[in-house]
Subunit: 472 residues, 2 copies
């Protein structure tokens, strides 16, 4: 009587588009620009390439409804990044949960879904294939594919492909997705997203052409790239039973001691010996024996103890890629022309074995208009977050600050920037708009805001004294 | 240099547990109870069975950490529902995106993920297999399976199974999942969830045994079941290109006219003819021709026009299963012992072809303590929603009400219940805690609150006059 069936993950996200941020044509147009731009930035600055990104939203009147009620656009994003190898190109753009970012490294992408969610939405609302052209660095060919996603099988269905000898040394990727959108409603948010991306990436050249033919140009202001993020091994505090079993299965280590040192970060031989001594386990144990049913309890207790052993060094943060205080201050100055600006990059911390760095920027006065509450600019792994503000961890922390303690009375001209850089950003949803309330993150955001607010108080207090002195 | 790989949807939700509501042991214990109870209610009241549900959370000290820091529990939920057929049992509990609820019908479940997300969390944190026992109505056997989910392949890995001849006429399902949890922190929410479930299901008998051995008993108060929901065909306003292509591929209809009438709800022959006449398409067209590349533009314009054609009857609402005004009032009376209670079941509406009914209940005074804002009880498809209140559509609408217009000044003793029943509840995330802001839903919630608030105003106004009369 009940009809049982399985659906593919492509069908799942097609049926539930709103989960991925594609709730309506306005959000869909915004999300498509986001997913493509974030992929282009991951393909450039993560790989020490100075980004050159061109974004075009082109009106497609021949595909749109008669009275203009269904508007369709083609979103084209081109970059000078590392390109996509031809052997994986079809899967990278046509198979949901296929990604090069399933490693422990700070990148904007993490789910293996982004561009595919945009393709699925475009397919359902405009019926046109995705088109991608790419050449990897040093390759003598450029490759092109036009494809749909086969929803039943979650695989690419290629409708045309080609390759040609490359002229010159261009490398990079150009993606075009056609979808139903609402440019009039999405315009401000899309502009804001691109602007806020450019403001923290002064090393990037970004060109944006709108459906109305307007061109927004964000020139490169510096050739200095932030240190790129690096791939890390897992940290023992972040391990669980499933993960540990997979590590044991795949490891070539002959002993448990070797496995701990080789397969994890922050575990030297001395520490590993101390840990195994503490829990009374033989360091020479063949780790594969831990997979046997009779050793189930031993495996569980090893994992439990690993998660709380204080002796492991904290997760490495030199693998992370923060913005840096100079870049944050420069960005805030350009955006707001304030009279005062400050920034702090907090020391690294971790939650569940994931290292993170919180950075706070603040701008005050000057051309900032007085507002009833601080203007919050949120960033995570260098992505600007524009929606779901009231649900976000940064908003919750910011709302808890008593600004009177810092001599700020609203209305006041105050901007606060929060950036969280981590190997795992705990978003609330795959649409990446707001971040869950993790206690360790909350603490650091609070510490950072208070640290910069104290400097603002010193500035305001000094100005008040100066004004006092002038009056006498 | 970039390492490309594909992961299964099981690995995806294991890696990103927080997306499914399993952010930490406290939330995980709560979510596991929820997922099992919601499955049990779907297996009973949707099928005209008076539910008998037993929930037990059992302490597992032999699996827990030495100093009590890692606590593990087994959550056992047993029901007298329709059972799970043995042929699909392993997949139903061991394959992510396998479900009997991928049809157009109002059920609590919709994603095909719920119980599997709990199994994945349990597997990662406790290493024990899921155990399920089930017998379908009329079957002479009971079937048992113990299984893990193979994360790489997203399929069940059965570790033991059995069957035995059934004594008597028991039918139903008993599910046991073992996981790391935090009963102390989760207790209040779990109790509240079960209580709020019982309060709108007076036809259900629910027994809850806690890890401390306490037993909470919610007896059956009525044998009257609400009309069960029924499966519907899609409505033309909710169609997109992908969906329409699938309908065409699978339909046996010989002409486009037949297809519209057979495959959709709310489309009679007269209406279908009028629609095709309006858009100038031959009703005798062989629908399979629409799948050809040369007819791409015609297909797109048919779908565009279908979505906005006003002539189709609105989506059927007799397929929905609202709570009803009596049941809401009864529940509020039992929970709060107010001096005044009212409820309204709003007329059916639709968003994007999905029919929905909003129901509002309000309770005032009596034993309700005065509070600074109304207490909001949210429900969707009869599921109580306890988290992410400030992000929810009902909260946003409630916050916009000017209660002074209704003679309410806070602090005031006011409770507001909002229930949304639909064939598709637009949750913000797969954890089903808050609902997206859909304009049509917002409007109906607002209309409903105002309608009941007007009756409250009449009551308060009458009481004020009586008090006035008494004073003279
Ligand atoms: N412009 C690009 N240049 C190079 N590689 C790209 C580009 N766009 C996509 N890719 C490759 O395709 C893969 C899939 O992209 P997709 O956006 O679907 O997932 P993701 O970026 O890995 O994760 P997320 O879902 O969080 O965006 C990426 O991991 C990357 O390897
Ligand atoms: N107690 C039960 N009695 C009968 N069938 C059940 C029971 N529990 C689960 N099932 C079956 O197993 C399927 C899978 O359950 P699961 O919770 O994973 O997904 P779902 O309920 O369909 O959707 P959701 O992810 O929204 O909960 C259900 O669709 C149902 O057919
Ligand atoms: Mg991406
Ligand atoms: Mg379920």
């Amino acid at each position: 009587k009940e009809k049982f069936r399985e659906i593919s993950v492509a069908e799942f996200f097609a049926k539930n588009k709103e989960l991925a941020g594609f709730a309506n044509p306005t959000r869909a147009l915004y999300q498509t620009v986001r997913e493509l731009v974030e992929n282009s930035l991951d393909a450039t600055d993560t790989h020490l390439i100075l980004p050159e990104i061109v974004i075009r939203i082109v009106n497609r009147p021949e595909l749109s409804g008669s009275n203009g009620s269904e508007q369709r656009f083609t979103v084209i994003v081109e970059d000078n990044g590392i390109g996509v190898p031809p052997t994986v190109m079809a899967n990278a753009f046509g198979r949901v949960l296929f990604s090069s970012k399933y490693v422990i490294r700070q990148t904007r992408g993490m789910y293996g879904l982004g561009v595919k969610a945009a393709v699925l939405y475009g397919q359902a609302t405009a019926g046109q294939p995705l088109k991608v052209v790419s050449a990897t660095k040093g390759s003598s060919y450029s490759y092109m594919k036009e494809l749909f996603i086969d929803m039943k099988k979650n695989e690419p269905r290629i409708v045309s492909e080609g390759q040609w000898r490359r002229r010159g040394s261009w490398h990079g990727t150009r993606v075009a997705i056609t979808l139903m959108g609402d440019w009039r409603r999405a315009k401000n948010r899309i502009l804001e997203y691109i602007k806020r991306t450019a403001i923290i990436a002064p090393y990037a050249e970004i060109i944006f052409e709108t459906p109305d033919g307007e061109i927004y140009y964000f020139p490169r202001l510096t050739r200095k790239l932030p240190r790129p993020p690096r791939e890390a091994k897992p940290h023992p505090h972040g391990i669980d039973l499933e993960h540990f079993k997979i590590i044991i299965k795949e490891s070539k280590a002959k002993t448990l001691l070797e496995l701990l040192v080789q397969e994890f970060q922050s575990v030297g031989e001395k520490t590993a010996r101390a840990f195994l001594k503490k829990i009374g386990v033989n360091p020479n144990l063949n780790p594969k024996k831990l997979l046997r049913k009779e050793n189930e309890e031993l495996l569980r207790s090893i994992v439990d103890e690993m998660k709380k052993f204080e002796g492991f060094k904290p997760p490495r943060s030199d693998y992370l890629s923060p913005l840096g205080e100079d870049l944050i201050k420069l960005g805030l100055k350009r955006l707001f022309e304030p009279e005062w600006v400050e920034a702090v990059t907090r020391p690294p911390r971790a939650f569940e074995g994931n290292p993170f760095i919180v950075e706070i920027g603040m701008a005050y006065g000057g051309k900032i208009p007085p507002m009833n509450e601080p203007l919050l600019l949120r960033y995570a792994n260098k992505i600007p977050l524009l929606y779901e503000e009231k649900e976000d961890i940064s908003w919750k922390v910011l709302s808890s600050i008593n600004w009177k303690l810092y001599l700020i009375n609203f209305p006041a001209p105050l901007v606060v920037l929060v950036h969280i850089a981590s190997t795992k950003v705990p978003y609330k949803g795959v649409g990446k708009e707001s971040i869950s309330e993790i206690p360790e993150l909350e603490q650091e955001i609070k510490n950072g805001i208070q640290e910069v607010a104290r400097r603002l108080r010193a500035y305001i207090s000094r100005k008040m004294k100066e004004a006092e002195t002038l009056r006498r």
